[in-house]
Protein backbone atom coordinates (compact mmCIF):
# COMPACT_ATOMS: atom_id res chain seq x y z
CA UNK A 1 0.00 0.00 0.00
CA UNK A 2 2.77 2.43 0.90
CA UNK A 3 4.65 2.28 -2.38
CA UNK A 4 7.66 4.30 -1.45
CA UNK A 5 8.97 7.08 0.67
CA UNK A 6 7.63 10.00 -1.39
CA UNK A 7 4.04 8.75 -1.60
CA UNK A 8 4.24 8.15 2.13
CA UNK A 9 5.77 11.58 2.73
CA UNK A 10 3.15 13.31 0.60
CA UNK A 11 0.35 11.34 2.27
CA UNK A 12 1.72 12.09 5.73
CA UNK A 13 2.11 15.81 5.03
CA UNK A 14 -1.32 16.07 3.42
CA UNK A 15 -2.83 14.31 6.40
CA UNK A 16 -1.17 16.51 9.02
CA UNK A 17 -1.41 19.70 6.98
CA UNK A 18 -5.02 20.24 8.02
CA UNK A 19 -5.24 19.45 11.71
CA UNK A 20 -8.99 20.00 11.95
CA UNK A 21 -9.69 17.54 9.16
CA UNK A 22 -7.28 15.10 10.77
CA UNK A 23 -9.16 15.46 14.05
CA UNK A 24 -12.48 14.75 12.30
CA UNK A 25 -10.96 11.69 10.61
CA UNK A 26 -9.61 10.46 13.92
CA UNK A 27 -12.99 10.98 15.61
CA UNK A 28 -14.64 8.93 12.86
CA UNK A 29 -12.15 6.10 13.20
CA UNK A 30 -12.13 6.23 17.01
CA UNK A 31 -15.92 6.19 17.14
CA UNK A 32 -15.98 3.26 14.78
CA UNK A 33 -13.24 1.25 16.49
CA UNK A 34 -14.56 1.78 20.00
CA UNK A 35 -18.11 0.96 18.97
CA UNK A 36 -17.05 -2.16 17.07
CA UNK A 37 -14.69 -3.21 19.88
CA UNK A 38 -17.40 -2.80 22.50
CA UNK A 39 -20.08 -4.54 20.43
CA UNK A 40 -17.89 -7.45 19.38
CA UNK A 41 -16.30 -7.56 22.84
CA UNK A 42 -19.77 -7.82 24.36
CA UNK A 43 -20.62 -10.50 21.82
CA UNK A 44 -17.52 -12.48 22.77
CA UNK A 45 -18.18 -11.86 26.46
CA UNK A 46 -21.76 -13.05 26.09
CA UNK A 47 -20.59 -16.05 24.13
CA UNK A 48 -18.10 -17.00 26.84
CA UNK A 49 -20.72 -16.64 29.54
CA UNK A 50 -23.32 -18.65 27.65
CA UNK A 51 -21.04 -21.60 27.05
CA UNK A 52 -19.10 -21.49 30.34
CA UNK A 53 -21.27 -23.98 32.23
CA UNK A 54 -21.36 -26.42 29.34
CA UNK A 55 -17.66 -26.10 28.59
CA UNK A 56 -16.73 -26.56 32.25
CA UNK A 57 -18.84 -29.67 32.63
CA UNK A 58 -17.43 -33.16 32.43
CA UNK A 59 -20.29 -34.32 30.22
CA UNK A 60 -19.23 -35.59 26.83
CA UNK A 61 -22.91 -36.24 26.20
CA UNK A 62 -25.89 -34.48 27.72
CA UNK A 63 -29.22 -36.19 28.23
CA UNK A 64 -32.04 -33.65 28.42
CA UNK A 65 -35.72 -33.17 27.78
CA UNK A 66 -36.69 -32.80 24.12
CA UNK A 67 -36.61 -29.23 22.94
CA UNK A 68 -34.35 -27.88 25.67
CA UNK A 69 -33.12 -24.65 24.16
CA UNK A 70 -30.33 -23.73 26.51
CA UNK A 71 -28.56 -24.62 29.72
CA UNK A 72 -30.68 -22.42 31.95
CA UNK A 73 -34.16 -23.38 30.76
CA UNK A 74 -34.07 -27.09 31.53
CA UNK A 75 -37.10 -29.36 31.93
CA UNK A 76 -37.27 -32.29 34.36
CA UNK A 77 -36.38 -35.76 33.14
CA UNK A 78 -36.41 -39.04 34.96
CA UNK A 79 -33.40 -40.13 36.99
CA UNK A 80 -33.66 -43.58 35.39
CA UNK A 81 -31.89 -42.05 32.41
CA UNK A 82 -28.79 -42.01 34.59
CA UNK A 83 -28.98 -45.77 35.00
CA UNK A 84 -29.72 -46.26 31.34
CA UNK A 85 -26.53 -44.38 30.63
CA UNK A 86 -24.51 -46.33 33.16
CA UNK A 87 -25.61 -49.58 31.53
CA UNK A 88 -24.37 -48.41 28.13
CA UNK A 89 -20.98 -49.70 26.99
CA UNK A 90 -18.38 -46.94 26.80
CA UNK A 91 -19.90 -44.82 29.56
CA UNK A 92 -17.56 -44.08 32.46
CA UNK A 93 -20.01 -42.22 34.63
CA UNK A 94 -23.39 -40.48 34.54
CA UNK A 95 -23.96 -37.47 36.75
CA UNK A 96 -27.35 -35.91 37.41
CA UNK A 97 -27.49 -32.13 37.29
CA UNK A 98 -30.38 -29.94 38.35
CA UNK A 99 -30.78 -26.48 36.85
CA UNK A 100 -33.77 -24.29 37.53
CA UNK A 101 -34.82 -20.70 38.04
CA UNK A 102 -35.87 -19.94 41.62
CA UNK A 103 -36.83 -16.93 43.64
CA UNK A 104 -34.08 -15.60 45.95
CA UNK A 105 -35.37 -13.60 48.84
CA UNK A 106 -32.91 -11.02 50.06
CA UNK A 107 -32.27 -10.77 53.80
CA UNK A 108 -33.33 -7.14 53.91
CA UNK A 109 -36.41 -7.61 51.75
CA UNK A 110 -37.06 -7.94 48.06
CA UNK A 111 -36.32 -10.81 45.78
CA UNK A 112 -34.56 -11.70 42.58
CA UNK A 113 -34.49 -14.64 40.23
CA UNK A 114 -31.53 -16.98 40.53
CA UNK A 115 -30.53 -20.14 38.71
CA UNK A 116 -29.99 -22.98 41.08
CA UNK A 117 -27.33 -25.42 39.88
CA UNK A 118 -27.42 -28.61 41.89
CA UNK A 119 -24.86 -31.37 41.53
CA UNK A 120 -22.58 -33.24 43.82
CA UNK A 121 -19.05 -31.98 43.55
CA UNK A 122 -17.57 -35.39 44.28
CA UNK A 123 -19.23 -36.71 41.12
CA UNK A 124 -17.19 -34.21 39.11
CA UNK A 125 -20.03 -33.38 36.72
CA UNK A 126 -20.02 -29.62 37.08
CA UNK A 127 -17.93 -28.13 39.83
CA UNK A 128 -17.89 -24.40 40.68
CA UNK A 129 -14.56 -22.92 39.61
CA UNK A 130 -12.54 -19.85 40.52
CA UNK A 131 -13.38 -20.21 44.20
CA UNK A 132 -12.02 -17.16 45.98
CA UNK A 133 -13.56 -17.85 49.36
CA UNK A 134 -14.56 -21.11 51.04
CA UNK A 135 -14.10 -24.53 49.45
CA UNK A 136 -16.16 -27.21 47.80
CA UNK A 137 -16.31 -29.27 50.99
CA UNK A 138 -18.18 -26.42 52.61
CA UNK A 139 -21.10 -27.26 50.32
CA UNK A 140 -21.61 -30.30 52.52
CA UNK A 141 -22.73 -28.06 55.35
CA UNK A 142 -26.44 -27.62 55.95
CA UNK A 143 -28.11 -25.00 53.68
CA UNK A 144 -24.78 -24.19 52.02
CA UNK A 145 -24.65 -22.51 48.63
CA UNK A 146 -21.88 -20.93 46.58
CA UNK A 147 -22.46 -17.72 44.61
CA UNK A 148 -20.32 -15.41 42.51
CA UNK A 149 -19.02 -12.27 44.16
CA UNK A 150 -20.09 -10.20 41.13
CA UNK A 151 -23.71 -10.67 42.18
CA UNK A 152 -23.46 -10.02 45.92
CA UNK A 153 -25.22 -6.70 45.63
CA UNK A 154 -27.96 -8.17 43.40
CA UNK A 155 -28.48 -10.94 45.95
CA UNK A 156 -28.70 -8.43 48.78
CA UNK A 157 -25.83 -10.00 50.73
CA UNK A 158 -22.33 -8.88 51.61
CA UNK A 159 -20.33 -12.07 51.50
CA UNK A 160 -19.75 -15.56 52.81
CA UNK A 161 -21.69 -16.39 55.93
CA UNK A 162 -24.71 -14.29 54.99
CA UNK A 163 -28.06 -15.99 54.73
CA UNK A 164 -31.02 -15.59 52.42
CA UNK A 165 -33.96 -17.66 51.30
CA UNK A 166 -34.66 -19.66 48.18
CA UNK A 167 -38.31 -20.51 47.90
CA UNK A 168 -39.31 -21.44 51.42
CA UNK A 169 -35.85 -22.62 52.51
CA UNK A 170 -33.03 -20.75 54.16
CA UNK A 171 -29.62 -20.85 52.49
CA UNK A 172 -26.23 -19.70 53.72
CA UNK A 173 -23.41 -18.54 51.50
CA UNK A 174 -20.48 -20.84 52.21
CA UNK A 175 -18.21 -19.85 49.34
CA UNK A 176 -17.63 -17.27 46.66
CA UNK A 177 -16.48 -17.64 43.11
CA UNK A 178 -15.16 -14.95 40.82
CA UNK A 179 -16.13 -14.57 37.19
CA UNK A 180 -18.96 -17.11 36.91
CA UNK A 181 -21.51 -14.89 35.26
CA UNK A 182 -24.92 -15.56 33.84
CA UNK A 183 -26.11 -14.30 30.49
CA UNK A 184 -29.68 -14.12 31.84
CA UNK A 185 -28.45 -11.72 34.55
CA UNK A 186 -29.95 -14.13 37.13
CA UNK A 187 -27.01 -15.29 39.26
CA UNK A 188 -26.04 -18.94 39.46
CA UNK A 189 -26.37 -20.49 42.91
CA UNK A 190 -24.38 -23.72 43.29
CA UNK A 191 -25.49 -26.33 45.75
CA UNK A 192 -25.67 -30.08 46.13
CA UNK A 193 -28.03 -32.27 44.14
CA UNK A 194 -30.27 -33.14 47.06
CA UNK A 195 -30.40 -29.59 48.38
CA UNK A 196 -31.37 -28.36 44.93
CA UNK A 197 -34.11 -30.96 44.81
CA UNK A 198 -35.36 -29.84 48.20
CA UNK A 199 -35.28 -26.18 47.24
CA UNK A 200 -37.18 -26.90 44.06
CA UNK A 201 -39.44 -29.45 45.71
CA UNK A 202 -38.52 -31.71 42.86
CA UNK A 203 -39.36 -35.44 43.09
CA UNK A 204 -36.40 -37.59 44.07
CA UNK A 205 -36.49 -39.47 40.77
CA UNK A 206 -36.16 -36.34 38.70
CA UNK A 207 -33.24 -34.33 37.40
CA UNK A 208 -32.67 -31.67 34.74
CA UNK A 209 -29.76 -33.25 32.93
CA UNK A 210 -27.66 -36.35 33.04
CA UNK A 211 -24.05 -35.62 32.16
CA UNK A 212 -22.44 -38.65 30.55
CA UNK A 213 -18.69 -39.05 30.79
CA UNK A 214 -17.26 -41.53 28.30
CA UNK A 215 -14.52 -44.02 28.89
CA UNK A 216 -11.25 -43.18 27.18
CA UNK A 217 -11.32 -44.32 23.55
CA UNK A 218 -15.08 -44.79 23.46
CA UNK A 219 -16.79 -43.95 20.15
CA UNK A 220 -19.02 -41.02 21.03
CA UNK A 221 -21.43 -41.57 18.13
CA UNK A 222 -21.82 -45.24 18.92
CA UNK A 223 -22.51 -44.48 22.57
CA UNK A 224 -24.95 -41.77 21.64
CA UNK A 225 -26.88 -44.04 19.29
CA UNK A 226 -27.06 -46.69 21.97
CA UNK A 227 -28.22 -44.09 24.48
CA UNK A 228 -30.85 -42.74 22.12
CA UNK A 229 -32.39 -46.16 21.86
CA UNK A 230 -32.43 -46.44 25.64
CA UNK A 231 -33.87 -42.99 26.38
CA UNK A 232 -36.18 -42.44 23.41
CA UNK A 233 -38.24 -39.77 25.18
CA UNK A 234 -35.24 -37.50 25.68
CA UNK A 235 -32.50 -35.93 23.62
CA UNK A 236 -28.85 -36.88 23.71
CA UNK A 237 -26.54 -34.09 22.58
CA UNK A 238 -22.81 -33.84 22.45
CA UNK A 239 -21.22 -31.05 24.43
CA UNK A 240 -20.54 -29.13 21.23
CA UNK A 241 -24.12 -29.51 20.01
CA UNK A 242 -25.56 -28.30 23.28
CA UNK A 243 -23.11 -25.40 23.35
CA UNK A 244 -24.12 -24.37 19.82
CA UNK A 245 -27.80 -24.74 20.62
CA UNK A 246 -27.46 -22.53 23.69
CA UNK A 247 -25.51 -19.95 21.68
CA UNK A 248 -28.03 -19.97 18.88
CA UNK A 249 -30.86 -19.50 21.31
CA UNK A 250 -29.42 -16.68 23.39
CA UNK A 251 -27.54 -14.87 20.65
CA UNK A 252 -29.75 -15.32 17.63
CA UNK A 253 -33.23 -16.54 18.60
CA UNK A 254 -33.50 -13.75 21.18
CA UNK A 255 -31.89 -11.23 18.82
CA UNK A 256 -29.26 -10.24 21.40
CA UNK A 257 -26.32 -11.32 19.27
CA UNK A 258 -27.86 -9.84 16.14
CA UNK A 259 -28.19 -6.52 17.96
CA UNK A 260 -24.55 -6.65 19.04
CA UNK A 261 -23.30 -7.56 15.57
CA UNK A 262 -25.68 -5.01 14.05
CA UNK A 263 -24.22 -2.35 16.33
CA UNK A 264 -20.73 -3.31 15.19
CA UNK A 265 -21.76 -3.12 11.54
CA UNK A 266 -23.37 0.26 12.18
CA UNK A 267 -20.13 1.44 13.75
CA UNK A 268 -18.22 0.35 10.68
CA UNK A 269 -20.68 2.03 8.33
CA UNK A 270 -20.65 5.32 10.25
CA UNK A 271 -16.86 5.21 10.53
CA UNK A 272 -16.51 4.46 6.84
CA UNK A 273 -18.79 7.35 5.91
CA UNK A 274 -16.92 9.81 8.13
CA UNK A 275 -13.49 8.72 6.94
CA UNK A 276 -14.66 8.64 3.31
CA UNK A 277 -16.05 12.14 3.66
CA UNK A 278 -12.84 13.56 5.14
CA UNK A 279 -10.59 11.72 2.69
CA UNK A 280 -12.74 12.90 -0.20
CA UNK A 281 -12.66 16.52 0.92
CA UNK A 282 -8.91 16.27 1.54
CA UNK A 283 -8.42 14.90 -1.96
CA UNK A 284 -10.66 17.62 -3.36
CA UNK A 285 -8.61 20.27 -1.60
CA UNK A 286 -5.39 18.78 -2.99
CA UNK A 287 -6.85 18.09 -6.42
CA UNK A 288 -4.48 20.51 -8.15
CA UNK A 289 -1.54 18.70 -6.59
CA UNK A 290 -2.85 15.40 -7.87
CA UNK A 291 -3.36 16.99 -11.28
CA UNK A 292 0.23 18.23 -11.14
CA UNK A 293 1.40 14.72 -10.28
CA UNK A 294 -0.56 13.44 -13.25
CA UNK A 295 0.96 16.13 -15.48
CA UNK A 296 4.42 15.16 -14.24
CA UNK A 297 3.65 11.73 -15.61
CA UNK A 298 2.82 9.77 -12.51
CA UNK A 299 0.85 6.62 -13.10
CA UNK A 300 -2.65 6.18 -11.72
CA UNK A 301 -1.19 3.64 -9.32
CA UNK A 302 1.21 6.21 -7.92
CA UNK A 303 -1.62 8.64 -7.16
CA UNK A 304 -3.76 5.88 -5.72
CA UNK A 305 -0.76 4.99 -3.59
CA UNK A 306 -0.75 8.49 -2.09
CA UNK A 307 -4.44 8.29 -1.23
CA UNK A 308 -4.18 4.74 0.09
CA UNK A 309 -1.12 5.67 2.15
CA UNK A 310 -3.14 8.53 3.59
CA UNK A 311 -5.95 6.09 4.38
CA UNK A 312 -3.50 3.58 5.88
CA UNK A 313 -1.89 6.26 8.05
CA UNK A 314 -5.33 7.33 9.24
CA UNK A 315 -6.14 3.70 9.96
CA UNK A 316 -3.00 2.99 11.97
CA UNK A 317 -3.23 6.22 13.95
CA UNK A 318 -6.96 5.83 14.52
CA UNK A 319 -6.52 2.19 15.46
CA UNK A 320 -3.82 2.94 18.02
CA UNK A 321 -5.86 5.67 19.69
CA UNK A 322 -9.08 3.66 19.39
CA UNK A 323 -7.52 0.62 21.02
CA UNK A 324 -6.35 2.72 23.97
CA UNK A 325 -9.94 3.81 24.56
CA UNK A 326 -11.35 0.35 23.84
CA UNK A 327 -8.93 -1.32 26.27
CA UNK A 328 -9.85 1.23 28.93
CA UNK A 329 -13.53 0.37 28.43
CA UNK A 330 -12.66 -3.33 28.57
CA UNK A 331 -10.79 -2.78 31.84
CA UNK A 332 -13.67 -0.83 33.35
CA UNK A 333 -16.14 -3.54 32.37
CA UNK A 334 -14.21 -6.35 34.04
CA UNK A 335 -16.20 -6.27 37.27
CA UNK A 336 -19.59 -5.95 35.60
CA UNK A 337 -22.04 -8.83 35.00
CA UNK A 338 -21.34 -8.68 31.27
CA UNK A 339 -17.66 -7.91 30.78
CA UNK A 340 -16.35 -6.86 27.41
CA UNK A 341 -13.75 -9.26 26.09
CA UNK A 342 -10.70 -8.28 24.08
CA UNK A 343 -8.67 -11.10 22.61
CA UNK A 344 -5.61 -10.99 20.33
CA UNK A 345 -7.88 -12.33 17.60
CA UNK A 346 -10.39 -9.54 18.10
CA UNK A 347 -7.61 -6.94 18.21
CA UNK A 348 -6.27 -8.29 14.91
CA UNK A 349 -9.75 -8.37 13.44
CA UNK A 350 -10.27 -4.75 14.48
CA UNK A 351 -7.00 -3.75 12.80
CA UNK A 352 -8.09 -5.53 9.64
CA UNK A 353 -11.53 -3.92 9.78
CA UNK A 354 -10.00 -0.48 10.34
CA UNK A 355 -7.64 -0.85 7.39
CA UNK A 356 -10.46 -2.21 5.24
CA UNK A 357 -12.74 0.61 6.36
CA UNK A 358 -10.13 3.22 5.44
CA UNK A 359 -9.35 1.49 2.15
CA UNK A 360 -13.05 1.45 1.25
CA UNK A 361 -13.26 5.07 2.35
CA UNK A 362 -10.44 5.88 -0.05
CA UNK A 363 -12.47 4.63 -3.00
CA UNK A 364 -14.52 7.81 -3.28
CA UNK A 365 -11.32 9.87 -3.16
CA UNK A 366 -9.72 7.63 -5.79
CA UNK A 367 -12.85 8.01 -7.91
CA UNK A 368 -12.45 11.77 -7.68
CA UNK A 369 -8.80 11.60 -8.70
CA UNK A 370 -9.61 9.29 -11.61
CA UNK A 371 -11.76 12.06 -13.05
CA UNK A 372 -8.99 14.67 -12.87
CA UNK A 373 -8.34 16.52 -16.06
CA UNK A 374 -4.58 17.13 -15.90
CA UNK A 375 -5.13 20.15 -18.14
CA UNK A 376 -6.36 22.04 -15.05
CA UNK A 377 -2.69 22.56 -14.21
CA UNK A 378 -2.65 25.20 -16.94
CA UNK A 379 -5.78 26.98 -15.79
CA UNK A 380 -4.84 27.77 -12.20
Amino acid sequence: MIRNAMTFTLAFRNLFHDRIRLAVTMVGILFSIVLVAVQLGLYLGARNIIVAMIERSAGDLWIMAYGTKNFEEAQPIGLREKFAALSTPGVAKAVPLIVSFMDWRKPKGGSTLVIVVGTDAEDGGLVPWNLVEGDLNALGARDAVIVDKTYLRDLGVEGAGDTAQIGASRVRISGLTEGIRSFTVSPYVFTTLNRARNLLEMPADNTSYVLVKLQPGADIEAVRNELRSKVPDNEVLTKAEFRDRSLNHWLFATGAGVALIGGAVLGLVVGTVIVAQTLYSSTKDHINEFATLRALGSSSGYIHGVILAQAALSAVLGYALGMVIALTVVYLSEATPLPIVMTPGLATLLLGLTVAMCAISALSAIGKVMRIDPAVVFSR
Binding site: M6, L10, T292, A295, V377, F378, S379, R380
Partner: protein
Amino acid sequence: MSASPTNAALAPAANANTDARKVVLEATNIVKELGSGARKTRALKGVSLSLNAGELTLLMGPSGSGKTTLLSILGCILTPTEGSLTVASHSTTGLTAEDLAKLRRRHIGFIFQSYNLFPTLTAEENVRIALDVRGERGSDATVRAQRALQHVGLRHKLKSFPSNLSGGEQQRVAVARALVGQPSVMLADEPTAALDSENGLAVMQLLSEIAKDASRAVLAVTHDPRTIPFANRVLRIEDGLIVGEERRAEGVETVHQLARNRKRKANA
Protein backbone atom coordinates in the same frame (compact mmCIF):
# COMPACT_ATOMS: atom_id res chain seq x y z
CA MET B 1 10.96 25.49 -41.75
CA SER B 2 9.96 24.41 -38.28
CA ALA B 3 6.40 25.71 -38.22
CA SER B 4 3.90 25.43 -41.01
CA PRO B 5 1.53 28.38 -40.97
CA THR B 6 -1.51 28.10 -43.17
CA ASN B 7 -0.22 31.11 -45.03
CA ALA B 8 3.37 30.36 -45.88
CA ALA B 9 4.05 34.01 -46.72
CA LEU B 10 3.70 34.88 -43.04
CA ALA B 11 6.71 32.78 -42.10
CA PRO B 12 10.14 34.39 -42.32
CA ALA B 13 12.97 32.41 -43.75
CA ALA B 14 14.51 29.97 -41.36
CA ASN B 15 18.08 30.08 -40.21
CA ALA B 16 20.15 27.83 -42.36
CA ASN B 17 21.55 26.07 -39.30
CA THR B 18 18.08 24.98 -38.16
CA ASP B 19 17.82 22.06 -40.50
CA ALA B 20 20.84 20.50 -38.90
CA ARG B 21 19.24 20.54 -35.48
CA LYS B 22 17.56 17.45 -34.11
CA VAL B 23 13.76 17.58 -34.07
CA VAL B 24 12.55 16.31 -30.67
CA LEU B 25 8.87 17.11 -31.05
CA GLU B 26 6.82 17.20 -34.18
CA ALA B 27 3.14 18.05 -34.46
CA THR B 28 1.36 17.62 -37.75
CA ASN B 29 -1.99 19.15 -38.65
CA ILE B 30 -3.26 19.21 -35.07
CA VAL B 31 -6.97 19.86 -34.73
CA LYS B 32 -8.64 20.08 -31.35
CA GLU B 33 -12.36 20.36 -30.83
CA LEU B 34 -13.60 21.30 -27.39
CA GLY B 35 -17.14 20.88 -26.05
CA SER B 36 -19.88 18.93 -27.73
CA GLY B 37 -23.03 19.43 -29.73
CA ALA B 38 -23.96 23.02 -30.37
CA ARG B 39 -21.21 24.21 -28.00
CA LYS B 40 -18.47 22.45 -29.90
CA THR B 41 -15.65 24.77 -30.90
CA ARG B 42 -12.44 24.26 -32.82
CA ALA B 43 -9.68 25.50 -30.54
CA LEU B 44 -6.95 24.37 -32.94
CA LYS B 45 -7.55 24.27 -36.67
CA GLY B 46 -4.63 22.39 -38.10
CA VAL B 47 -1.38 23.31 -36.40
CA SER B 48 1.90 21.88 -37.55
CA LEU B 49 5.16 22.64 -35.84
CA SER B 50 8.37 21.07 -34.74
CA LEU B 51 10.63 21.82 -31.80
CA ASN B 52 14.35 21.53 -32.30
CA ALA B 53 16.86 20.49 -29.72
CA GLY B 54 19.04 23.32 -28.49
CA GLU B 55 16.37 25.96 -29.08
CA LEU B 56 14.12 28.09 -26.93
CA THR B 57 10.89 28.67 -28.81
CA LEU B 58 8.25 31.13 -27.71
CA LEU B 59 4.59 30.60 -28.54
CA MET B 60 2.85 33.95 -28.45
CA GLY B 61 -0.69 34.98 -29.12
CA PRO B 62 -3.69 36.74 -27.66
CA SER B 63 -5.99 35.19 -25.10
CA GLY B 64 -8.21 32.51 -26.60
CA SER B 65 -5.88 31.93 -29.52
CA GLY B 66 -5.30 28.30 -28.52
CA LYS B 67 -1.87 28.62 -26.86
CA THR B 68 -2.70 26.61 -23.77
CA THR B 69 -4.67 24.02 -25.70
CA LEU B 70 -1.70 23.54 -28.02
CA LEU B 71 0.67 23.34 -25.05
CA SER B 72 -1.58 20.70 -23.44
CA ILE B 73 -1.50 18.63 -26.62
CA LEU B 74 2.25 19.02 -27.12
CA GLY B 75 2.65 17.95 -23.47
CA CYS B 76 0.54 14.84 -24.07
CA ILE B 77 -2.00 16.03 -21.54
CA LEU B 78 -4.77 16.48 -24.08
CA THR B 79 -5.11 14.31 -27.14
CA PRO B 80 -5.77 15.93 -30.52
CA THR B 81 -9.06 15.40 -32.33
CA GLU B 82 -7.09 15.08 -35.53
CA GLY B 83 -3.44 15.12 -36.47
CA SER B 84 -0.38 13.42 -35.15
CA LEU B 85 2.25 14.13 -32.56
CA THR B 86 5.69 12.62 -32.14
CA VAL B 87 7.71 13.20 -28.98
CA ALA B 88 11.30 11.99 -28.80
CA SER B 89 10.63 9.71 -31.76
CA HIS B 90 7.55 8.21 -30.07
CA SER B 91 4.24 8.63 -31.86
CA THR B 92 1.38 9.40 -29.48
CA THR B 93 -1.28 8.09 -31.82
CA GLY B 94 -3.44 5.46 -30.14
CA LEU B 95 -1.67 5.70 -26.79
CA THR B 96 -3.72 5.19 -23.63
CA ALA B 97 -3.79 7.72 -20.80
CA GLU B 98 -1.25 5.60 -18.91
CA ASP B 99 1.01 5.39 -21.96
CA LEU B 100 0.83 9.16 -22.36
CA ALA B 101 1.69 9.59 -18.68
CA LYS B 102 4.69 7.33 -19.21
CA LEU B 103 5.76 9.45 -22.18
CA ARG B 104 5.40 12.62 -20.11
CA ARG B 105 7.48 11.35 -17.23
CA ARG B 106 10.24 10.12 -19.54
CA HIS B 107 10.47 12.92 -22.05
CA ILE B 108 8.59 16.05 -21.00
CA GLY B 109 9.19 18.60 -18.26
CA PHE B 110 6.57 21.17 -17.31
CA ILE B 111 6.82 24.65 -15.86
CA PHE B 112 3.54 26.21 -14.84
CA GLN B 113 2.43 29.79 -14.51
CA SER B 114 1.45 29.27 -10.85
CA TYR B 115 4.49 27.04 -10.18
CA ASN B 116 2.23 24.16 -8.99
CA LEU B 117 4.61 23.20 -6.22
CA PHE B 118 3.43 20.90 -3.46
CA PRO B 119 2.95 23.20 -0.48
CA THR B 120 3.61 20.44 2.05
CA LEU B 121 6.92 19.39 0.50
CA THR B 122 10.27 21.13 0.77
CA ALA B 123 12.05 22.50 -2.29
CA GLU B 124 14.21 19.38 -2.46
CA GLU B 125 11.21 17.09 -2.09
CA ASN B 126 9.33 19.04 -4.75
CA VAL B 127 12.15 18.31 -7.16
CA ARG B 128 12.68 14.76 -5.98
CA ILE B 129 9.03 13.85 -6.57
CA ALA B 130 9.59 14.28 -10.33
CA LEU B 131 12.16 11.49 -10.07
CA ASP B 132 10.01 9.50 -7.69
CA VAL B 133 7.16 9.23 -10.21
CA ARG B 134 9.75 7.80 -12.62
CA GLY B 135 10.70 5.18 -10.07
CA GLU B 136 14.07 6.80 -9.36
CA ARG B 137 14.55 6.83 -5.60
CA GLY B 138 17.16 6.64 -2.91
CA SER B 139 20.28 8.70 -2.27
CA ASP B 140 21.03 9.06 -5.97
CA ALA B 141 17.67 10.77 -6.50
CA THR B 142 18.37 13.08 -3.57
CA VAL B 143 21.74 14.04 -4.97
CA ARG B 144 20.23 14.71 -8.39
CA ALA B 145 17.48 16.85 -6.86
CA GLN B 146 20.08 18.84 -4.92
CA ARG B 147 22.17 19.33 -8.07
CA ALA B 148 19.11 20.53 -9.99
CA LEU B 149 18.40 23.06 -7.27
CA GLN B 150 22.04 24.10 -7.27
CA HIS B 151 21.77 24.57 -11.02
CA VAL B 152 18.97 27.10 -10.51
CA GLY B 153 20.81 28.81 -7.66
CA LEU B 154 18.78 27.43 -4.79
CA ARG B 155 21.27 25.15 -3.08
CA HIS B 156 20.72 27.09 0.12
CA LYS B 157 16.93 26.60 0.02
CA LEU B 158 16.77 22.81 -0.08
CA LYS B 159 14.71 22.49 3.07
CA SER B 160 12.50 25.52 2.50
CA PHE B 161 8.81 25.07 1.95
CA PRO B 162 7.18 26.94 -0.95
CA SER B 163 5.44 29.30 1.45
CA ASN B 164 8.88 30.50 2.57
CA LEU B 165 10.12 31.13 -0.97
CA SER B 166 9.59 34.19 -3.15
CA GLY B 167 7.71 33.86 -6.43
CA GLY B 168 10.96 33.83 -8.36
CA GLU B 169 12.42 31.17 -6.11
CA GLN B 170 9.31 29.05 -6.42
CA GLN B 171 9.48 29.27 -10.20
CA ARG B 172 13.14 28.27 -10.08
CA VAL B 173 12.20 25.24 -7.98
CA ALA B 174 9.63 24.43 -10.67
CA VAL B 175 12.36 24.77 -13.31
CA ALA B 176 14.58 22.43 -11.30
CA ARG B 177 11.72 19.96 -11.03
CA ALA B 178 11.19 20.07 -14.78
CA LEU B 179 14.92 19.79 -15.41
CA VAL B 180 15.84 17.01 -13.00
CA GLY B 181 14.43 14.24 -15.17
CA GLN B 182 16.53 15.47 -18.12
CA PRO B 183 13.54 15.65 -20.47
CA SER B 184 13.80 15.97 -24.23
CA VAL B 185 11.17 18.70 -24.21
CA MET B 186 10.49 21.37 -21.63
CA LEU B 187 7.15 23.13 -21.87
CA ALA B 188 6.56 26.33 -19.94
CA ASP B 189 3.19 27.96 -19.52
CA GLU B 190 3.54 31.72 -18.99
CA PRO B 191 6.63 31.19 -16.85
CA THR B 192 7.09 34.89 -16.12
CA ALA B 193 3.46 35.96 -15.78
CA ALA B 194 3.40 35.78 -12.00
CA LEU B 195 6.86 37.30 -11.56
CA ASP B 196 8.21 40.81 -11.38
CA SER B 197 10.47 42.05 -14.12
CA GLU B 198 13.75 41.07 -12.49
CA ASN B 199 12.64 37.56 -11.55
CA GLY B 200 10.95 37.13 -14.92
CA LEU B 201 14.17 37.92 -16.72
CA ALA B 202 16.13 35.62 -14.45
CA VAL B 203 13.77 32.74 -15.18
CA MET B 204 13.96 33.41 -18.93
CA GLN B 205 17.75 33.52 -18.70
CA LEU B 206 17.61 30.14 -16.97
CA LEU B 207 15.36 28.70 -19.66
CA SER B 208 17.60 30.00 -22.43
CA GLU B 209 20.60 28.33 -20.77
CA ILE B 210 18.68 25.08 -20.40
CA ALA B 211 17.74 25.29 -24.08
CA LYS B 212 21.39 25.32 -25.05
CA ASP B 213 21.53 21.63 -24.27
CA ALA B 214 21.79 20.00 -27.66
CA SER B 215 19.42 17.22 -26.65
CA ARG B 216 16.59 19.40 -25.39
CA ALA B 217 13.99 21.74 -26.81
CA VAL B 218 12.24 24.37 -24.73
CA LEU B 219 8.87 25.87 -25.63
CA ALA B 220 7.42 28.69 -23.58
CA VAL B 221 3.91 30.02 -24.01
CA THR B 222 3.90 33.71 -23.23
CA HIS B 223 2.50 37.06 -24.13
CA ASP B 224 5.27 38.93 -22.35
CA PRO B 225 7.28 40.80 -25.02
CA ARG B 226 10.24 41.09 -22.62
CA THR B 227 10.86 37.38 -23.12
CA ILE B 228 11.45 37.69 -26.88
CA PRO B 229 15.16 38.54 -26.66
CA PHE B 230 15.82 35.19 -25.02
CA ALA B 231 14.21 33.16 -27.78
CA ASN B 232 15.77 31.48 -30.76
CA ARG B 233 12.40 31.39 -32.40
CA VAL B 234 8.98 32.94 -31.91
CA LEU B 235 5.77 31.33 -33.13
CA ARG B 236 2.63 33.39 -33.29
CA ILE B 237 -0.77 31.78 -32.94
CA GLU B 238 -4.17 33.29 -33.61
CA ASP B 239 -7.59 31.67 -33.75
CA GLY B 240 -6.14 28.19 -33.53
CA LEU B 241 -3.60 28.64 -36.30
CA ILE B 242 0.10 29.37 -36.40
CA VAL B 243 0.18 32.64 -38.25
CA GLY B 244 3.83 33.50 -38.07
CA GLU B 245 7.31 32.41 -37.21
CA GLU B 246 10.27 34.62 -36.45
CA ARG B 247 13.74 33.20 -36.17
CA ARG B 248 16.14 35.36 -34.23
CA ALA B 249 19.31 35.24 -36.25
CA GLU B 250 21.32 37.17 -33.67
CA GLY B 251 20.84 34.45 -31.16
CA VAL B 252 19.92 34.86 -27.56
CA GLU B 253 20.72 38.02 -25.67
CA THR B 254 21.91 37.56 -22.17
CA VAL B 255 20.49 39.31 -19.17
CA HIS B 256 23.68 41.36 -19.05
CA GLN B 257 23.17 42.53 -22.62
CA LEU B 258 19.56 43.40 -21.82
CA ALA B 259 20.64 45.31 -18.75
CA ARG B 260 23.24 47.16 -20.79
CA ASN B 261 20.64 47.98 -23.44
CA ARG B 262 18.23 49.24 -20.84
CA LYS B 263 20.95 51.40 -19.28
CA ARG B 264 21.91 52.77 -22.69
CA LYS B 265 18.30 53.68 -23.44
CA ALA B 266 17.93 55.30 -20.05
CA ASN B 267 21.08 57.37 -20.58
CA ALA B 268 19.93 58.40 -24.04
